[in-house]
Amino acid sequence: MNPLESVALALEALSVNRFRSLLTMLGIIIGVFSVILLVSIGEGAKAYVVAQFNSLGTNVLIVTPGKRETTGGPPIIGSTVHPLTVRDARAVAERCPRLSLVAPVVFGLSHVKYMNRGRNTNIIGTTNEFSEIRNLRAEVGSFLPPSQFLSEKQVCVLGRKVRTELFGDGNPLGKLVSIGGTKFRVIGIMQKKGTSLGIDLDDIVFIPVRAAQQLYSTEALLEILMNTRRESDLKPAKEEVKAILMQRRDGTEDFTVNDQGDMLSILSTLLNALTYALAGIAGISLLVGGIGIMNIMLVSVSERTREIGIRKAVGAKRRHVLAQFIIESVVLSSIGGLVGVALGIAVGQAAVAIWEDLPLKISLWTVGVAFGFSFLVGVFFGVYPARRASQLDPIEALRYE
């Protein structure tokens, strides 16, 4: 009997109990469906985060004060580490030719006021390079002056939200706003950027780094941002920056240089774990579906004991009976798998069509693994019932009522 005939025979046998076969398949359908959707959400979330990350500039290095392995968070108050200063930023910019741009960053929160409207807003003190490195550009007017002019000019660039909140439809260019009590002249308005990784990039006011240091009475920087022209320069540049800064600190390494790859890989690890956890949960339902198949195959074997007896009496060998029932179980699970795949893709597409922001990415890989797993479930859970069938004694099987 050729494979096609065997499948046809299995389909025929399964169609005898159509409803029962359908119910059994449902377990696999739901399993494959949820594997595809959940893994796609996991993958989508990862792709989304990576895209968000890259939208904030590529080949980025970040120096933060304190020896830490992860990034983020402002420096701890009262820590004994050397603060990062604008001089540090200049030193790396001058001495490390692999770096393309360097921007010192001061961060604070201040009350921003124009006329009678005010708002508490994030203040970033930096230089023109920040715009290039972070891929954040002024839409109207210009961004901050370049760092060689390390100016103390009281100018500012408003984020989109700040502009709307303070000025409504009016033109803010050239107007004076008060930031923490100091007057700043508006020289630019940022492009709309939205929220990225939990930070509202439109709710920020940019001022020159010196001005920010005066405003917050500190020399210390939150971080120094820099980038390289090529990705291959990232790792060597990281080492060079480390060496330069350590030299400036008499050999102590009380700062951390992170590259984007580090941060991305931390996030990726996290998101991969999430994806695997989701896949595992969905996989359990696939396993339960498999148990359903085994159960129904056992019922089928005992119902068809006489058929097995007849087949054996006319010369079916063990392997013939074994193959017949395993193929039946695999056909059952594979059809369930195919339906699950179709359903998963359809629902996924529909969901993305409805909620455009939904981070859902159905990859061929996910579909292939989910279907392959449903196939294997059929083999695995079909073996035991099929073995039982193949080991039946022909005489006893024929006598079975």
Binding site: A313, G315, A316, R318
Partner: protein, 232 residues
Amino acid sequence: MIEARDLAKRYQLGRTTVDALCGVSLTISRGEYAAIMGPSGSGKSTLMNILGCLDRPTSGTYALDGSPVHAMSDDEQAEIRNRRIGFVFQSFHLLPRFPAWKNVELPLVYLGIPRRERKRRAMATLDRVELGARVEHLPNELSGGERQRVAIARALVTEPVLVLADEPTGNLDSRTGEEIVQLFGRLNTQAGVTIVVVTHDAGVAHHARRILHMKDGLLVHDEAIEPAGSVA
């Protein structure tokens, strides 16, 4: 063709041990038509199952065409059943969901014959048992006699050297039973098929040319007879 020595079969039925066969020896030559008779419980069905390779003796030897069948593995026995023996059962044992021709082609499936050829041979064999017009009927659409013909066609389709029939007329009325018996007679005389029939019906047995009488698991009498059918 059949050479059986001291066949014994003992099995457990609950707590009691049953000796279904207590040392049966018999020889049946190629082309013979033999009937095995005896009251129920005499062991004739057990003997048939052993001769048909459906069951194994507890002790004794059984050679079919010189090969020691009793020592073969399950799969080797399956092959013997497939290629050399055709078995006809009292209750037909057809697959209910398959039309007549599909039932008949079943042994050919396990012989590895291609589909087209299987159908051709199944059709030809059904013609031979005069069922050429009912090939697409399911078993439950056929009369008892017709079903038994399908079963006989299935037994013959591989052109076996030996056909074993266990009470082939047991579930049939006497007229259709007679037809089936006639069919066996023709198979034996015209095609030279070796036939062994188990029956408790003397009328059926007298179509054979040799009657073996069994009682309590033993062969008690072996007689050659003039076949009743040859008069006609």
